[in-house]
């Protein structure tokens, strides 16, 4: 199980019946982060955001410490889950960061509910079909080598990987892959997403590691063409986990939110 910086507090919510655990830190305007398909690498990259914002990092249903709900089995269900959470927490005009699977959920959320957002950052977002630069099917990658697909430099991941046969780590990974399979097994994109991305009117930052082997940075032009108010930042020497690898990317998110 990942360990988290001591600055994070653990909050437990019940969102439409689902036990949802959220890590929070700092004070200020809300900055919510929606994680990708695995949480083993933790969220310590987000610590600097707490200097200025109230950082909120909920675990998706079926991930990390949140409970599973087998009936949450589509990205639209996740959109509804977070709409419920926004209402529960009386959140309005949220600064939202969505990474990978979280970026798929965030862009789908923004298409329908961008009035609940102040600004949006999509970090290597999944969810769009880009035939010339398709996203990798993560289910086809054996767990033993997945790490090399996530980062440009394995040194970034080493502190988060077990040193020996760690049954809890393996089981935790299987559980989160199951959560991801409920949403992504049939296909890892929404064929209709591109048709509606123009409805995202809030300022949007698209961010990529140039060496991303899961959602290629070559998808950035397609996203930025479809979202009217979007800018793109890419980082050399970074893979899919660009926020873990590049502190300047973390800073760029905070700067973008202003």
């Amino acid at each position: 199980m990942p360990t988290f910086s001591k600055i994070f507090q653990r909050e437990e919510l019940t969102v439409n019946g689902i036990k949802t655990v959220m890590l929070t830190a700092g004070k200020g305007e809300p900055l919510m982060f929606w994680h990708g398909g695995g949480t083993f690498h933790g969220f310590d990259f987000a610590v600097p955001w707490a200097d200025k914002y109230k950082v909120m990092i909920p675990f998706h249903p079926g991930f990390g410490e949140s409970a599973e709900d087998v009936s949450v089995n589509s990205v639209h269900d996740m959109v509804m889950h977070y709409l419920e959470m926004f209402d529960l927490l009386k959140l309005d005009k949220v600064n939202l960061v969505g990474f990978s699977l979280g970026g798929y959920i965030a862009s789908s959320f923004a298409v329908e509910h961008d009035t609940r957002l102040k600004k949006l950052v999509l970090v290597a977002p999944a969810g769009l079909k880009v035939p010339e630069a398709p996203s990798l099917d993560i289910f086809s990658v054996p767990g033993e080598v997945l790490g090399t697909y996530l980062v440009a430099d394995m040194a970034t991941l080493m502190p988060h990987l077990p040193t020996g046969h760690d049954i809890d780590f393996i089981v935790g990974g299987y559980r989160e892959m199951t959560g991801a399979a409920r949403l992504l097994w049939d296909r890892n994109y929404d064929p209709k997403l591109g048709k509606w991305l123009h409805r995202i009117k809030v300022p949007t930052l698209l961010m990529w590691g140039e060496e991303d082997r899961i959602v290629p940075a070559a998808q950035a032009p397609t996203w930025s063409k479809l979202i009217p108010n979007a800018t793109v930042k890419t980082y050399k020497g970074a893979g899919h986990l660009v926020l873990d690898e590049k502190p300047e990317a973390v800073k760029a998110v905070a700067d973008f939110f202003g």
């Binding site: 199951t178 399979a181 097994w185």
Partner: protein, 400 residues
């Protein structure tokens, strides 16, 4: 409950593996899912089909009570991606043995189609069909567009549809989570009423055992260690009673690897290399293919991750002590099977006589010795009568 001794029947199972693996096949981690079908030679496959069908037909002639076929996909392990096709071919070549489709993984076909094909086989055979419903191995889900995370819910809905299609007069409508039928109206309906005997297939997970018990169905335990099988059948009996159904020894089906020869040494000498091939080569696959995400619960995954993966391993002492592998003389084998039937309170051993890459002559020898020398030791009446009386099988491997 009826005594197992009073209802003992012998089922003969075949996997129909493809044997002609490339010389360097051991460099592949798996002969399932991603092991290329470029390695399949249809001419060699044709010869194998003829041979394997002859072996199952011989089992009928030798007086076995049932012929068991099953289904696997995208693998050299099995040339039966459709067990109903094999079953249909067996019907006109056999006379008495039950045709046991153990069976089509219902998630991989439309439930109405499964209901139709099984009903066809039952009518065509005049009521000789028995069926079992497997979920399919994890490997199957990598090769089909079915989400493993919803496999168990879909499986139960599919079976529900099949039973309704068989037992209610159509057309009926069915409004499910996965399937919506406006006019569910299968023609034909089964020959046996209300339907052929049903078993649930599994490794013994408590939910699946309970599911079988709820309906009063049989449970067919796949090849697993003895201790696990005994536990499963005990749970099955307890739950069958809890759900108000009658316990019976034919509700416990268990799989055994059997080889009979003149002496124990001879039997081991003849069988061991093929059993080794079965575990090391035919079953070889990766833990990832065995458990696609959501295919088993997180708790079950933890249990499985805590015990060794037998897919690709071979340890003779472990196998013969902890698993149901009987290799020896007719007396040795009869004693082992009798002990296991008693332990499992089962009257339905499913015998694997063809194992791994065993050649035809050994299969015929093994089956013939079992039928002629083991069955009479276990069942006072001996083999079932074939065509009105005991049939001497001239073709049985040139034995005098």
């Amino acid at each position: 409950m009826q005594r197992w001794q009073d209802d003992l029947q012998f089922y003969c199972m075949h996997f129909m593996p493809y044997l002609h693996l490339p010389e360097d096949h051991q460099k592949y981690d798996s002969v399932w899912v991603d092991f290329s079908n470029k390695h399949y030679d249809p001419k060699k496959g044709h010869a194998l089909y003829k041979r394997y069908m002859a072996e199952l037909v011989l089992a009928d002639k030798l007086g076995y009570d049932g012929l068991v076929v099953n289904e696997h996909h995208a693998t050299a392990y099995s040339m039966m991606p459709s067990c109903t096709v094999i079953a249909a071919a067996l019907i006109p070549q056999t006379t008495q043995a039950k045709i046991c489709c153990f069976g089509v993984p219902v998630n991989l076909a439309m439930p109405s189609r499964v209901a139709e094909e099984y009903a066809m086989l039952d009518v065509m055979s005049g009521g000789r069909l028995e069926v079992a419903f497997p979920l399919g191995t994890g490997m199957e889900y990598w090769a089909h567009p079915v989400n493993p995370a919803t496999a168990r819910a879909r499986y139960r809905e599919s079976i529900d549809i099949i039973i309704k299609a068989w037992t209610e007069d159509g057309p009926i409508s069915y409004d499910g989570e996965f399937y919506n039928y406006r006019y569910l109206n299968v023609w034909p309906k089964p020959y046996q009423k209300p339907h052929p005997k049903i078993a649930i297939v599994g490794t013994g997970s408590p939910e699946t055992v309970e599911y079988a018990a709820q309906h009063g169905w049989a449970y067919s335990q796949v090849f697993t260690p003895k201790a696990q099988q005994i536990k499963t059948f005990k749970a099955l009996r307890e739950m069958t009673e809890k759900y108000g159904h009658q316990n019976a020894p034919d509700k416990a089906l268990f799989n055994v690897i059997v080889y009979v020869a003149e002496t124990k040494e001879q039997a081991e000498k003849e069988a061991k290399e093929h059993i080794k091939f079965y575990f090391q080569d035919a079953l070889r696959t990766t833990t990832r293919f065995l458990a696609p995400p959501g295919y088993i619960s997180v708790d079950q995954f933890r249990q499985r991750a805590s015990v060794p993966n037998i897919h690709g391993e071979f340890n003779w002492e472990n196998l013969t002590q902890q698993w149901r592998v009987a290799v020896g003389t007719a007396d040795d084998v009869a004693e082992a099977i009798s002990t296991w039937c008693e332990e499992a309170q089962s009257s339905r051993p499913i015998l694997h006589h063809h194992i791994g890459d065993m050649p035809h002559w050994k299969v015929v020898k093994n089956m013939t010795l079992f039928a002629e020398e083991v069955i009479p030791k276990l069942r006072p009446g001996g083999r079932r009568a074939v065509g009105g009386g005991e049939v001497k099988v001239a073709a049985a491997a040139g034995r005098s």
